[in-house]
Amino acid sequence: MNPGFHGFLFDGESLLVKPVTVTVTAGRLQGHAPEAPEPMVDVSLADVAISDRLASVPRYLYLPGGGTIETPDNAAVDLLLAGQRRGRTVALVHALEIHSRVAAAATVLLVAAIAGALWWGLPALALRVALAVPERIELQMGEAGLLAINRFLPDTGLDRRARHRVQSQLNRLMAVAGIQQKPRLVFRSMGENAANAFALPGGIIVVSDELVKLAGSDDEIAAVLAHETGHWQRRHGTQGVLRNSAALLVVSTVTGDLSTLTTFAGTIPFTLLQRGYSREFEAEADRYAVDLLRRAGINPAHFAAILDKLEKSRPATGRDLSYFNTHPSTRDRIQRIAPGFVAGNAAAPAAKPESGEPFPKLATAAPVKANRGDLEGRFTEPSVELGPDDKPPRPLSRKAPRYPEEMRKKSIAGSVTLEFTIDQSGDVRSVRVVNSTHREFEEEAVTAVKDWKFAPGEKNGRKVSVRSTQLLMFDPSDDEAPQAGRGAPPTIDLNPPPDKP
């Protein structure tokens, strides 16, 4: 049939090597020693297992009975297999392995596939699984975590009044969010410089005494609670565990085995990945908090203010290496939460009219229609970022919006949050509704704000345009028109004049 090919016969009994010439005739494979008439091997080809083609590695014919023939003649063996219609799948893999272009394409695909799996596929899967985890299990995870914490953190030193203050803020938020099962508040003393709060799975929010003391107002406490509620509601704890263990599996599959992780080079991608995940969680909790705060009628600037304070209360180490920090750089977060927020005026936004005021009218407000998905997109960066030494815009004239007649008749309260630019001449431009309790209020709010006049903001002594947000409240219990009559009607919080009484 064919002229045959050369190889070596090992009988499996010893390491003895016998050179052979292999021929295949009529379905039988024969191996002849040089010059010998009788074949040393004579078996049915169907009984011979043949090793797969792999680069130019020698091929092995595994004979029934334990013998092996080794041959460097890959081409002849391939021909033999092709005639038998055997080993086609492996031949395909081999075909892929020998082309440089395939390798180049595979490299690109591989990088894309890994990135895609780690950044989108895996988190999406983790979210689904996390949402499916029963609350009972979540709570057990939380209890376990709390138990571990208790060993390190002493009990709180706060008095009942202070704790009650925090609890009432939480109650207020939960009412707005419509969450029936309130999270459990746990107070712990964490020591100096440890103003902190975190959420454990199952709805346990741990707040440090130092945080309560650091917070300037109830609204700031509410802001922190809203953020932690976000972690809990989005099940970040469970998701994190799932993602990290799954990522570990993916990384080890790619690199071959887990021991790679113990080497320096293997640790880097994994660590970066974990950091990235936690950044993502922080950003999501921030968005949740901003949304919840708005619905509760609390200006997100309070959130920015407490973040700023937290940042300043920490020892100054590596603040700028944002990717290596668990939390995204605080400045980025603040700008996202309250564009235009000026760090230097951190205390100012505690605008009198709203702080401490109960919000019964908003508690029952209809669901906010703000589309959470693009909330972040609407928060464009401020056209100019103002530093602590720069002058924010100062309001010169602010006309209150007209109360829509129909709403007044029905005694419906509500609020609208607007975003707009205060340009170099102090005029208001590009007004957009960030969210509102009722669509009916929006038009009046926008109309009113367009007529406002400011002393423009200044940066380095030059007039600049500044992006800002504004909460306008509609309250039918106030007599004359909307709150036009009051000294400081709709609160302007974001860039309040420093000299405001």
């Binding site: 009994e13 003895l16 790679t260 590596g318 290496l321």
Partner: protein, 423 residues
């Protein structure tokens, strides 16, 4: 788990494990003996030429052949017994090429990902076959014959157990201790099974290697001696490494030829002493540097950025000491390993090995790991070029002896467990 330790999945002792990079795939393993040797030829045709070759040793470019034991330590050769006549010496030759291996690696890795990991077992077998199939001794290559579906079954089981451990352990932390305890008890079994699986699937000249060991001795080596390490505050560690080598190597045989390991603990202590001194020295330099930074800082805690030089020095020292120890132990282990009357000799240069590994580290970091196949090929080629086999007689006499088998589960479990037993 570092490279120089015989990870449980390694069938052979200290083989040219491409160091830090590739414990799992360090393919070519064993080193049994016999015929003539084509040296520099890189084509498969060399096998054919082998046919006509005579028994002779080609010179090795990288490492000078090691001479047989010097007369000072050995009794002078006695013509009567003929035992200590100068032995023939055969080098190991590695034919793998970085480009070729890269193509195989990338295609198989991609297929693994596209099949959600199901292909991983086939990929592993192909990669390992490439490494062993390109390792030549005395005119013939090694072969790896593992059955992918069995590896896959083991993979799936271990992945499920791992996920369950992570998730359940989060809910009931007590389970973690229970699981760790169970893992500890299973460890000897895992070690023995994976050694067996790996050896059984490695062949030379159509003959399988075998690894047979009692669970009792495995438990003694991997658990019992760890207790001693803890009691002695780690001073027993080098002796333990030596004992583990002995355990691994002496569990192996090829046909009726048994592997023997006859090293004392002293050289192991020396290697770890020097390695430890390197790390300690770097820690001192790092400490002085940090103090300096703090002083310049006006007493404040330095930022992460300012600590970078410290991390660099420390990481560099750990990496250096690790490879220093690896190179030292590579020579020590192979020079004291026998296969019945046949010997091995190794002459790996610490400096060269170290330079190689530094370049590998740089390449891996810069390429985000894509140059891993290149690093593997370089490491394996160099390590193998430093290893020689010195038969004490015709190796053809080595014959079959009984049968045995290994399960894929043990091997894969060992790769996961490998994380925990390294230190």
């Amino acid at each position: 788990m570092s490279d120089h330790s015989a990870t449980p999945e390694q069938p052979s002792p200290e083989f040219p494990d491409p160091a830090s990079a590739a414990p799992a795939d360090a393919g070519a393993r064993f080193a049994p003996p016999a015929l003539p040797l084509p040296a520099d030829t890189d084509t498969p045709a060399d096998l054919r030429e082998t046919l006509q070759r005579t028994l002779q040793t080609p010179p090795q470019p990288d490492c000078p052949p090691r001479l047989p034991p010097s007369p000072a330590t050995q009794p002078p050769p006695s013509p009567a017994t003929g035992m200590e006549q100068p032995r023939p010496s055969h080098g190991f030759v590695f034919h793998g090429e970085a480009r070729e291996y890269f193509r195989i690696w990338i295609v198989n890795t991609l297929l693994t990902i596209l099949t959600c990991g199901l292909y991983s077992a086939w990929a592993k077998v192909r990669k390992r076959r490439y490494l062993r199939g390109n390792t030549e001794l005395m005119g013939h290559r090694f072969d790896y014959r593992a059955n992918p579906p069995r590896i896959l079954a083991g993979n799936i089981l271990v992945a499920l157990m791992f996920l369950a451990y992570m998730v359940v352990g989060e809910v009931y932390p007590v389970v973690r201790f229970g699981a760790l305890l169970a893992g500890l008890i299973l460890l000897p079994w895992v070690v023995v099974r994976s050694l067996s699986f790996n050896a059984h699937n490695t062949t030379y000249r159509g003959m399988r290697f075998y690894s047979r060991q009692t669970y009792g001795w495995a438990a003694m080596t991997y658990i019992g001696q760890w207790v001693i390490i803890i009691i002695t505050l780690g001073f027993y560690y080098p002796a333990w490494v030596r004992n583990r080598k002995k355990f691994t190597i002496e569990s192996h045989r090829l046909g009726d030829a048994f592997f023997r390991f006859e090293s004392k603990s002293g050289p192991f202590y020396l290697a770890y002493l020097v390695g430890g001194a390197m790390v300690f020295g770097a820690a001192m330099i790092g400490g002085v540097l940090t103090t300096l930074i703090i002083t310049l800082n006006g007493g404040r805690v330095p930022s992460t950025l300012q600590l970078v030089p410290f991390f660099l020095i420390y990481g560099f020292a750990i990496y250096s000491s690790k490879h220093f120890v690896y190179a030292q132990l590579f020579n020590q282990v192979w020079n004291n390993t026998r296969l019945d009357e046949h010997r091995f000799s190794a002459n790996l240069s610490v400096g060269k090995w170290y330079g190689l590994q530094m370049a590998n580290l740089g390449a891996m970091l810069v390429s985000c790991g894509l140059l891993y196949p290149w690093a593997t090929m370089r490491s394996t080629r160099y390590a193998l070029s430093c290893l020689r086999f010195q038969p004490g007689g015709p190796i053809e006499k080595i014959s079959r002896l009984g049968k045995s088998d290994g399960s894929a589960f043990g091997e894969t479990a060992a790769e996961f467990v490998g994380l925990d037993i390294g230190l």
